[in-house]
Subunit: 129 residues, 2 copies
């Protein structure tokens, strides 16, 4: 073994011992990160967060648009814009029924975001003593 190889190997072992904890689960892959970042971006506005929470707080996780404008100090077109951003991000669904448009949360999308926010301790409770 040459002098060049020896210190490289020793340094690698020393660093591994001092600095590195093992991985206990697969981290997020690049494509999923791009998808999920778009969803989180939709949640990065206080009015949109309150809209999502307001929809989810109604029975069945569904609300009429007529219930979604009252609590806000912004115009109805602004509310409509924010609802469109939430819908385009795949966080809520919507449908017109007669006079009103209804919005509902999409639990699978919210669960996907929520699962990313779980720490390893949450993710593998069975392994905790």
């Amino acid at each position: 073994m040459s002098k060049w190889e020896l210190p490289l190997v020793e340094r690698g072992e020393a660093e591994a011992a001092v600095c590195c904890s093992p991985m206990v689960r697969e981290p997020l892959d690049e494509d999923s990160a791009v998808d999920l970042a778009k969803m989180f971006k939709a949640l990065s506005d206080p009015v949109r967060l309150r809209l999502l929470s307001l929809i989810a707080s109604h029975e069945g996780g569904e609300a009429c648009v007529c219930d979604l404008t009252g609590p806000f100090d912004v115009s109805q077109p602004t509310i409509s814009h924010h609802l469109k951003v939430l819908r385009d991000a795949g966080l809520v669904g919507s449908e017109r029924r007669g006079t009103w448009v209804y919005y509902w949360v999409l639990p699978a999308a919210l669960a996907r975001l929520s699962s990313l926010l779980r720490t390893p301790a949450d993710a593998v409770p069975a392994e905790t003593p």
Copy 2:
């Protein structure tokens, strides 16, 4: 009762019957929404999401910065900037120990975001038949 009053009352009652589902929990208040939106904004970038996931995927939810640069196609200063954004948003903590800086996830912050993403059905499982 004038002709003017009658249709108004009838229309109001009809709308209430058709359009509105009751609230089953308190929606997010305005101040909390401003706080949480800042945290979600920190998560609205794919590299930051992967960094958070990578930290959380290490044993104990803690990783050495030396483990956080390899998987990315961006420069070390860019990684440092993204880690600072996550730290400033209150999502990770950090500390220098000897040669390396260590980052760990802050479970209480992640749990706060996660709880917002729970639908009423998740939130009150005891009431589900």
